[in-house]
């Protein structure tokens, strides 16, 4: 479980996060949604310690993440997997070396054990046989899946995904969502996803927080979206006329 209490973050005079308190549950897909500039990425980066909050606390289970020294911070981070918006695969390494990198760096395993783990992770993301390809030789969707494979290679308790569907076609996007959901279920991870993809929200949103101007404007799950009378949520989710029309036809409101 990851819990944040009263998080504030300012850049100069601009206050981006204004007292956010949230709980991200274990074994669930926790979604942070909101319009561009709402503070989603800043919140996600604050959660993993890439940005330090101006005030407030981030808890990883019983560990106060915001007060850790560098050494302890690194230890906690080794239990975190993260999928970046652009996948962040290392260009100088092939797919296999990318996935193996955290193991090479931190784990005392035999080459055979590492190979087995790499093959397993590639199998989980459905990319067997691309081991020797370089990031420049694979598609955007494949890069995302390799990114997921690298994120789960150390079997982390916490999985963070920054815009996992951006730049993907709807079918691949669905595949990535299903993959994240499956990993969350099977590994019982605390998964936190930053997205503004409506299909993801309606498909895998088990615990959703809507950010608006640096504050939490709504919280709930995908089943409560349709009936919610929160105007910000409705205008965000059903922003397109096509979706509004569909909703009216299906629900009559």
């Amino acid at each position: 479980m990851v819990r944040i209490e009263d998080i504030y973050k300012s850049f100069g005079d601009t206050e981006v996060l204004k007292g956010i308190s949230l709980t991200f549950e274990k074994g669930k897909t926790n979604l942070i949604i909101g319009r561009s500039g709402a503070g989603k990425t800043v919140l996600l980066k604050t959660l993993v310690g890439l940005i330090m909050p101006t005030s407030g606390t981030v808890w990883y289970d019983d560990t106060n993440f915001t007060q850790l020294d560098k050494k302890s911070l690194r230890e906690v981070r080794m239990n975190i997997g993260m999928l970046f918006q652009g996948s962040a695969l290392f260009d100088s390494m092939n797919v296999e070396e990318n996935i193996r990198f955290p193991m090479d760096m931190f784990k005392k395993m035999t080459p055979g054990e590492k190979q087995k783990r790499v093959d397993y992770c590639l199998e989980v993301v459905g990319l067997e046989g691309v081991n020797k390809k370089y990031p420049s030789e694979i598609s955007g969707g494949m890069k995302k899946r390799v990114g997921i494979a690298r994120a789960i290679v150390l079997d982390p308790d916490y999985l963070f995904c920054d815009e996992p569907n951006s730049g993907l076609d709807p079918k691949t996007s669905l595949l990535v969502d299903e993959l994240i959901l499956e990993i969350t279920r099977n590994n019982n991870t605390t998964t936190i996803i930053n997205t503004h993809d409506m299909n993801s929200v309606m498909g895998i949103g088990e615990n959703i927080a809507l950010l608006h101007q640096g504050k939490v404007a709504w919280q709930g799950d995908k089943d409560h979206i349709i009936d919610s009378d929160n105007e910000l949520l409705q205008s965000f989710i059903f922003a397109s006329p096509f979706l509004r029309e569909l909703k009216e036809k299906a629900y009559g409101h």
Binding site: K45, L50, E75, Q85, A88, S92, D104, M105, F106
Partner: protein, 249 residues
């Protein structure tokens, strides 16, 4: 710009403090160091060789022109080319050229990694990114650049020979006699001291520029240019200080 100098210097020292810490995994750091050594060494050999041969050749010819008809013996040309190459031209020119080639490459590579969130990805894995990105490059530069400088000195002397002896401006005996005259092994030490200091400046300043680059291709281009400009200024400054220090009695 100058008022931000203490800020940059402080941040540079902090980066070095982080960089020179115990590696998480020696084998991985060594692998990266070897990759960098190959890039710096093999990748720069042709340009260093080309520049060195021409430096030696031009120096030789210039001194043939200067000393022609003077009372100074012609074999002094070999002596002058040798010492000019060893003490000054090879260490300084090689490093000025390498700051343009190797330094800007380091800045672009690390800066690109910063912009494409590779560094963030490494941070989240629990890696000391300053150490992993800066230490192998600095060690590789310190290991390879002095060797390149030594090669450069040899080639500059050879270039002087080719330009003066082959066209008949100077006899083979005179040039070789010049090379053997007034030889002081201390000059070789001076060459290596300069090489190490310049290599350190070149690699760490370039890494610094890349490590703290802001987003956008314009900023990456600017950082690469700044890496070359600042490295060159600092190399020239260090050159002067080293000459004062190393040649004072």
């Amino acid at each position: 710009m100058l008022w931000r100098l203490p800020y940059h210097f402080g941040r540079y020292l902090m980066m070095l403090w982080q960089a020179f810490s115990v590696p998480e995994n020696y084998r991985m750091y060594w692998k990266e160091t070897v990759r960098q050594m190959y890039d710096i060494g093999i990748g720069s050999l042709v340009i260093v060789a080309l520049i060195s041969v021409f430096i030696g050749a031009v120096s030789g010819l210039q001194f043939v022109y200067q000393l022609d008809g003077q009372l100074i013996p012609m074999y002094y040309i070999g002596y002058i080319v040798r010492d000019l190459a060893i003490i000054e031209l090879s260490p300084t020119f090689t490093n000025l050229v390498l700051s343009g080639k190797v330094g800007s490459n380091m800045t672009s590579e690390i800066g690109g990694m910063r912009q494409k969130e590779h560094i963030d990805a490494m941070e989240i894995m629990g890696l000391n990114t300053a150490a992993y990105l800066v230490l192998p490059r600095t060690i590789a530069a310190l290991a390879v650049i002095p060797l390149l400088v030594a090669v450069s000195a040899i080639l500059a002397i050879a270039g002087g020979y080719v330009a003066t002896v082959l066209p008949g401006e100077l006899s083979h005996t005179d040039y070789v006699r010049g090379l053997r005259t007034f030889y002081n092994p201390y000059n070789i030490q001076m060459m290596f001291v300069k090489s190490y200091v310049f290599a350190f400046i070149l690699s760490t300043v370039s890494c610094y520029q890349g490590y703290y680059v802001k987003s956008g291709s314009v900023n990456l281009g600017k950082a690469s240019t700044q890496a070359v400009v600042y490295s060159n200024i600092l190399i020239l400054l260090a050159d002067y200080l080293l000459v004062v220090l190393l040649t004072s009695d």
